[in-house]
Symmetry: C2
Subunit: 200 residues, 2 copies
């Protein structure tokens, strides 16, 4: 195709920046847009340009936002006494979509990983410390990933909460709902077994 339309070849190549899109899918997408969805393709181009240029991070919670303070932080209907700490905006979206949580968030944009140059400063923990010092937050919910680095981050956050005199809670870990026990990995099963709870 490259010989027939350089611009088309360029479009196919540019589409490959999307995750999970290889040469074949990119070609399919380009042809689909050209053949059937010119209007929406043009709309996507405009929105994409705007989003890439204007979306930054909220100065309060570090989530994606095109405003200095995001709508979630500015909202008066969200409970300011509970603060949920997540690693990424994707995690925030997952919590927001799955749970009925009505408090506020703090996004680390990473997890403690000194070898990768990610220290407390890079995770904006000074902002979090300030936030806790404001005295409004009563519970800090730690929703970091259950990985080694996520656990280390969580541990650090517990210290921070303690220093600020704020109660810290963690997401419950254990056997996922709807799964077969035999397929649950050993670590999870051992943890769930050890943390068994009494039944009324």
């Amino acid at each position: 195709m490259s010989s027939s339309s350089p611009l088309l070849a360029e479009l196919i190549d540019a589409l490959r920046c999307l995750p999970g899109v290889g040469a074949k899918s990119a070609q399919r997408m380009a042809f689909h847009l050209l053949e059937r969805e010119r209007e929406r393709g043009l709309k996507l181009a405009g929105v994409l340009e705007q989003a890439m240029q204007r979306i930054g991070n909220c100065s309060r919670c570090r989530n994606f936002s095109e405003e200095p303070v995001c709508a979630l932080c500015a909202s008066s209907s969200r409970d300011r006494h509970v603060l949920c700490v997540v690693e990424s905006p994707t995690d925030l979206a997952a919590v927001e979509q799955a749970t009925g949580y009505r408090g506020q968030y703090f996004v680390l944009l990473g997890r403690l990983s000194p070898l990768d140059g990610l220290g407390p400063r890079e995770l904006g923990l000074h902002l979090l410390t300030e936030r806790l010092a404001e005295g409004e937050v009563e519970e800090l919910i730690l929703a970091t990933s259950p990985t080694v680095e996520g656990e280390a981050t969580s541990h650090y956050l517990v210290q921070l909460a303690r220093a600020g005199g704020v109660k810290a809670t963690r997401l419950a870990h254990g056997v996922p709902l709807g799964g077969e026990l035999e397929y649950v990995d050993r670590g999870t099963l051992a943890h769930a077994f050890g943390s068994r709870q009494s039944v009324e």
Copy 2:
């Protein structure tokens, strides 16, 4: 997410114009671009806008092209005596990538389907007739799909070639290479059986 950044929500929605991209993938794509690929995302926006606005159809072969006559038609290294008729630019790309074909193409942008309002005029067959009348084409290769409508189109094209005094050939139909005979569909197997060829 919609409550946190309207622009992000708009981007996720706009990404759904891509084929095979649902709400979940669109969200993943948007986050990926924002977190890691702003530069390439911006590049994509630019190329996409250019492509949607500037890519039209070649006046000679009807393939996608940003020039009035596409590079394939303008090329002096392509054989002008052979013309391959395909239904879509995607089919052209498939032939171009799989075969060593060095002739020229004619793209129908559809197939004869009177019920959908697709007649000879919509398929640009007047252009094809003019092209055959030029007297340069010696062989018309019919590479329409082996569907009912594709066959009807092919039949029509054979008449056109005959009227223009041009030899018409069709892609060979039969058992695909590398498949198991037991999984070949009945129609194909019956056709392949009926069209069996003598072995030297």
